[in-house]
Assembly symmetry: C2
Homo-oligomer: 326 residues x 2
DNA sequence: GTGAAAGCGCTAACAA
DNA sequence: TTGTTAGCGCTTTCAC
């Protein structure tokens, strides 16, 4: 069986209370006792049972992280920072992929509540606002806005849209496509779209633009591929593409290679996110401050757990990173 | 306060035992009672406290996953499958990034033991074999072999090395580089290297090959970049590159673009892993059965948790996926 | 300085 | 069918 505090107590010849005191370093303890207890713990390979502690303290030091899909590089990178920061603060991470399924997301929320996690970072959003309001647990949403009353962390999507579009215009693109996932899914991505529309609206009569979106929820790269190849079939004269994610932009580059279109000479491509795989292609993109987003999500969650107030809306700056594709 | 079984019991007017029975569907219970209890739970938004249950049952239904870095696409993808399969089996996932740090890995193992996870999937390996042996918890290693006595799941790295090298040879490459991360870090990646050496050893005197490896442990893409640019500087006449990961291969493609080397005409490039971002570049690669690796890791871990025997060595087949870079 | 006892929320004998 | 009781491993009064 696993070693408990009781075993240690017996071995050392004191009560469990004393052991607990040593464990938590509370009250007056003689150094010799401390040492004896530590040695016994070492010797018996004792690990305090966090489950019992959690039960008593009503605090698990676990935070739940609900994402659409950890295999998507953006979420992989943000998760890396969330994990690192949470770890520094003494918190563990329970990882949940909703895969964009409402049912799974709902079940995971129940699971997390049942597991008495201390709070949840939501990077997925498939349920109704009412459902989230009733979670009744410290909550932060990441790269999503669920409701004005739930703190959210995001980057400046509108500004990102402006920067990207302006770059293409500056580069004299005359027929630009805006590509995105499902706009209904994300209020924030919609801002990039809005920014795009606003920027292109002032152009002359010869200027053209196209907006294309996938209607599915997943990150199906095969679908991306279809979307992009369809785009070039319909509009072989495109000379600029603003893709609302780097992964989408990579598909655009791929199609360009296949069709023999020179990038950036014939077609200029800009992505969005600033993930490392984009960098591996010298992709021009709008860089989100991924690390800061992850850290702030954790920070604001822990503040809430501690009973503090946090800002309801946090918009972080983005920047243009111009590489080889424009 | 949070609702407990006792609150429900009082509300319905029965004992806590009865509520527990309804919860676990044990013993004989009248339908009317079941309904009354369910309604009360619904109404009070009750969630059974898994922490208390875990304490009693000595089973948390949590598995720990220790990885070097979740933001690396290979681990992101395998984690996605691990999560999905674990979820289907009623298990939650605690995510731990070691970042290749021995200290952090060690601390995480202690944390996981303290949290009473039911088992650990190890995708990281920085400690000594002895340390792992003393974990004393069901364990599976993924894409790593720590010891002959700890079950491990991997793909056929030797065969992958053979397939990749043979392809380059078949394509008449006359000067091939093998690029890899730190070989000392992974016995398995070393097999790809060995396979490479064996395949090229039978070539005629004019044939040349180079082996280059990064000596750091992290997945630093900047380092990859340096490695690759150095490679081409020293060996401008290279006509084939076998990169031991797709992420490395992407860096090779990038350098080729920068240097104006045509792929595959002047240089043929093959990667390793079969991650989606490679697919987004039409990269020729050796595809590891990532989904199956993740599933088997979970399956074998759960079998161990259930007290069953599992194979100590599981080698899954790889396949060549030839795309545009060869 | 140290220990006995109660209790966190739940389940599992054992009774009734 | 249902309830009483004990106890999972730990911490925390309250005594001594």
């Amino acid at each position: 069986m696993v070693v408990t505090i009781k075993d240690i107590a017996e071995k050392v010849g004191v009560s469990v209370t004393t052991i607990s005191r040593v464990l938590n370093n509370r009250g007056y303890l003689s150094d010799s006792l401390k040492k004896k207890v530590s040695e016994a713990m070492e010797e018996m390979n004792y690990q305090p049972n966090e489950v019992a502690r959690s039960l008593l303290r009503k605090k698990s030091h676990i935070i739940g992280l609900i994402l659409p899909d950890i295999s998507h590089p953006f979420f992989g990178e943000v998760t890396k920072h969330i994990e690192a920061f949470a770890y520094d603060q003494g918190y563990k991470l329970m990882l949940c992929n909703s895969l964009h399924h409402k049912k799974k997301e709902k079940e995971y929320i129940d699971l997390l509540r049942a597991s008495r996690v201390d709070g949840i970072i939501m990077g997925s959003h498939t349920m109704s606002v009412k459902d989230y309001m009733s979670i009744n647990l410290p909550l932060v949403t990441l790269d999503r806005q669920i409701s004005k009353s739930i703190p959210f962390i995001a980057s400046d999507n509108y500004q990102g849209g402006v920067l990207a579009t302006q770059l293409l215009l500056r580069k004299k693109c005359r027929k630009i496509a805006y590509l995105s996932g499902n706009l209904r899914l994300s209020l924030l991505a919609k801002q990039r779209h809005d920014a795009f529309l606003e920027q292109v609206s002032g152009q002359d009569a010869q200027f053209q633009f196209i907006v294309k979106q996938t209607d599915l929820n997943g990150f199906k790269y095969k679908e991306y591929e279809k979307l992009v190849s369809g785009l070039f079939q319909e509009h072989p004269d495109l000379d600029g593409v603003f893709a609302s994610s780097d992964m989408l932009a990579l598909q655009v580059l791929k199609q360009c290679r296949r069709l023999g279109k020179a990038v950036p000479d014939q077609v200029k491509v800009i992505g969005y996110d600033g993930i490392s795989v984009g960098d591996a292609e010298d992709l021009t993109t709008i860089v989100q401050p991924i690390k800061m987003m992850g850290e702030l999500a954790v920070r604001y969650l822990l503040l809430q757990i501690a009973g503090e107030q946090v800002p309801l809306e946090t918009i972080l700056p983005v920047r243009l990173s111009e590489k080889a594709t424009t």
